[in-house]
Amino acid sequence: MIVAERKPFEEIKAMVSGYKKVLTVGCGTCVAVCLAGGSKEVATLNAELELALGKDGISPGAATVERQCDMEFLAELDPLAEQYDAFISMACGAGIQFLAERFPDKPVFPAVNTSFIGVNLDVGWYEEKCRACGTCVLGTTGGICPVTMCAKSLFNGPCGGTNNGSCEINTDQPCAWYRIHERLSAQGRLEQIMEISPANDWSNQKPRKIIQPGYEERIKALQG
């Protein structure tokens, strides 16, 4: 899932001050699961805003849609939109941008920092696992991502700083390449990393779109 963190209140307050009618929009999917931007967090933020800005006559509205990264769900906000002069979005960066695209004449302010694609380690505890580089090598690296889990994104690690199983940046951070070696060695597949892994194709350096096979015609028609 996509993991996000609520922005500090002062930052949000500074963005919305000056707007009287503000709608705080949550998202019911990833950011709800990681406790950053679901309906509960919308209520919490609104309570804080009311406390701080209520004296200025600001009373934020609340709405949480299933997914802000989907126009179908954003359409639910259409009837509400005209009552507000600004939005706060608690979705990930994708949701925030899609909301802004849905209502291009209104300012949209982010209330979270989108942090990473990650996993649930426990309630409230998440770890980054994927950088969406676009060229997955997990098949040869024992299911451990060298782009994300190695602090230098090395394809032929470990570097000279590897420190008894830890990464050079921090003894609490495992060295990805130490673990890749350990796992492949246990599986008897060390030959997977004997060959030199070639320079990566960093296709994530430009805005990307994907059309799944079978949908080309439909999309051509949509684009007119």
């Binding site: 602090a151 230098k152 994104s153 090395l154 394809f155 032929n156 690690g157 470990p158 570097c159 000279g160 700083g161 590897t162 420190n163 008894n164 199983g165 830890s166 050079e168 940046i169 130490y178 070696h181 350990e182 060695s185 060390l190 004997m194 030199i196 892994s197 070639p198 320079a199 990566n200 960093w202």
Partner: protein
């Protein structure tokens, strides 16, 4: 003799001499005089000097620029290049420029993580890693092609160096990693500072057994300990460093005034052993902020005069 680059280092090694290389850190500013002073200590005492590239992720005068001062002063540079600060376009452009100005050796490194330096918020580039950098320089030299495949008009002929850490875990992987660097195209290897002689003996032996030492020149790294504090720091604080307790005990065993001298004595004993060790082609002296002691160390280690090649 068939030369890849014709660098002094390459000539020394190919003539079968025991190579002796040094290291110069460029200044934290444009203080050319300070740089020239450091260079003057090494000149004539070493076959060439590594010029570090934003070492420990601190901004310094660029490695290629300091390398040019080195050439002007009559000391052959080994142009260090880290993957942290440049993408493949910038790297290849710098390699062409460096070669055009007479630089003939390059050392391909990953680089310390940017969080250790004075700009911890910088974006680490790591477009390619050190293995891929070695491969790229070799392809530029031997095939006359850029990484992207296009032809180079007058390819750069560089003697390609790489680093190795024989001590880091997993130990069994270290020699495979060396093999990978050799396959990528490394001509010579400079290792992490060596203090654990047992471990380096084992590593060299495995490299000999795998036939690697016939394909690449290995220069173990030597850094004399200046003080007990330095030894403790290296042991406990520097990732990937292996300092056995005996070294610390030996340094503690002499009067405070004589500790640095004892450190040099240990280094000279190591060099003596390396001169005799099969598969070792020379040593690399990293006398960090101790450049003025290099002539004395070279003398005591029996490294002078350096051969004419």
């Amino acid at each position: 003799m068939d030369m890849k680059s014709g660098s002094r280092l390459e000539r020394v090694l190919k003539a079968g001499h025991f190579a002796f290389t040094g290291e110069v850190g460029p200044p934290r500013g444009a203080n050319v005089e300070a740089l020239k002073k450091k260079i003057s200590y090494l000149k004539g005492c070493v076959d060439m000097a590594n010029i570090t590239d934003n070492q420990t992720a601190m901004v310094r005068m660029s490695s290629w620029a300091a390398s040019l001062f080195c050439i002007q002063e009559g000391l052959e540079p080994n142009y260090q290049m880290v993957c942290r600060d440049r993408n493949r376009l910038a790297m290849q452009a710098d390699i062409l420029g460096a070669y055009s100005h007479g630089i003939r050796n390059i050392l391909c490194l990953s680089g310390d993580h940017q969080m250790f330096g004075d700009h911890p918020q910088a974006k680490g580039v790591y477009d390619i890693d050190s293995m891929q950098l070695i491969q790229m320089v070799k392809q530029m030299r031997d095939e006359g092609k850029f990484q992207g495949g296009a032809d180079i008009d007058e390819p750069p002929k560089l003697f390609i160096g790489a680093a190795a850490n024989p001590f880091a875990e997993p130990f069994e992987w270290r020699v495979h990693r060396l093999a990978k660097k050799v396959r990528a195209g490394a001509d010579f290897i400079q290792t992490q500072c060596v203090y654990n002689m047992d471990k380096i003996r084992q590593w060299i032996k495995r490299a000999n057994d795998m036939g690697l030492t016939e394909q690449v020149y290995i220069l173990p790294g030597i850094t004399p300990m200046k003080s007990v504090g330095m030894a403790n720091y290296m042991k406990n604080k520097v990732p990937g460093m292996d300092v056995p307790d005996e070294i610390i005990k030996r340094l503690k065993g002499v009067e405070k005034k004589k500790v640095a001298d004892e450190g040099i004595k240990i280094a000279c004993e190591q060099i003596e052993e390396f001169k005799e060790m099969k598969g070792v082609a020379g040593v690399h002296l990293m006398a960090i902020e101790w450049e003025h002691r290099v002539p004395e160390i070279a003398e005591r280690a029996g490294m002078l005069p350096r051969p004419e090649v």
